[in-house]
């Protein structure tokens, strides 16, 4: 499960909306190589989750939502980041929540819009606070206009995705 950037799917409304969470943990290797300074709190080397991995978390959330719509028959590939804005850092001990909506979908692909919220366990009274928006465009690889052929098996949604969905209580056809 090394490259899964969401821990659990907590809500799925087929073809419409999916919500997933990700606990940011100090045990993750990437946090040992990626720092920000926080002069206000006197912290000179504060480990933070790279924005690119937050993007990947949203891509996985929205990608599963799009893939689920066609029972994971399509190879759903992230084709374009239409918009990505993040206004706060995610540090160890926080929880990220990704909410993705399908905006438009046809047999060529789908566009999604999404919000990222952060829960700081040191301040549970604040609840989930919005920290960004990430809008994406996905392509159904086999429907690409160039007509290029790809392997038969669906290499996008592999075992890691299936395990995640199963542990989240979402039934998928094997």
């Amino acid at each position: 499960m090394r490259w899964m950037w969401i821990d659990r799917v907590i809500e799925l409304q087929p073809r419409l909306k999916m919500v997933a969470v990700k606990n940011v943990s100090l045990a993750e290797d990437h946090l040992h190589d990626h720092f920000a300074s926080d002069a206000i709190h006197g912290l000179t080397a504060l480990p933070i989750m790279p924005a690119s991995l937050i993007l990947e978390g949203m891509a996985q959330t929205a990608g599963i939502l799009v893939g689920h719509a066609e029972s994971f028959r399509e190879k759903v590939i992230l084709a374009k980041i239409s918009k990505a804005e993040l206004t706060a850092d995610a540090t160890p001990g926080t929880t990220l929540r990704y909410t993705a909506f399908i905006e438009r979908m046809d047999n060529l692909g789908a566009s999604t819009r999404g919000t990222v919220d952060l829960f700081d366990h040191a301040h549970p009274d604040r609840g989930y606070c919005p920290i960004g928006i990430i809008d994406l465009l996905f392509s159904h690889l086999d429907q690409n206009m160039s007509g290029a052929a790809f392997p038969e098996h669906n290499f996008v949604f592999g075992d890691a995705f299936k395990t995640l969905l199963r542990t989240s209580g979402i039934a998928i056809a094997e």
Partner: protein
């Protein structure tokens, strides 16, 4: 809605989809050559036009598929007269005048101009 209104909304769509400045979006600018559109951007543009104008665009309606792959339509790297007829029939919103003079298939990207998009939307909305 006037043609100017359509142009304004098409410009907003292209600024958003292609991350270009609004003054780059002129009627004669080509999506690929001048505005840097890549293949996936065409899907994005279709989605955004639908949303912006409240219209439905069928697959292949705005940007036809399969013409370049058909040996009847493309020979020796050039679009054949038969191919040109097919393209014109499928894309009444496109001005082929410049392309016809040198119908290299590599130049097909150039026929998709901002004006062609405005023509397409105007036809969909029945605006003269």
């Amino acid at each position: 809605m006037t043609r100017d209104d359509i142009f304004g909304k098409v410009r907003d769509v292209l600024v958003d989809a292609l991350a270009v400045d609004d003054d780059e979006v002129t009627p004669t600018a080509s999506l690929v050559g001048d505005l840097g559109a890549e293949s996936i951007d065409f899907l994005d543009i279709v989605f955004k036009l639908e949303q912006s104008f409240g219209i439905k665009i069928a697959q292949g309606e705005l940007f036809p598929e399969g013409v370049a792959q058909d040996p009847k339509f493309v020979q020796n790297g050039k679009v054949t007269p038969e191919g040109l007829t097919a393209l014109k029939a499928r894309m009444p919103h496109v001005d082929f005048t410049a392309f016809e003079k040198d119908p290299q298939v590599s130049r097909v990207g150039g026929i998709f101009t901002v004006d062609a998009l405005v023509n397409f939307v105007a036809k969909k909305l029945n605006v003269a």
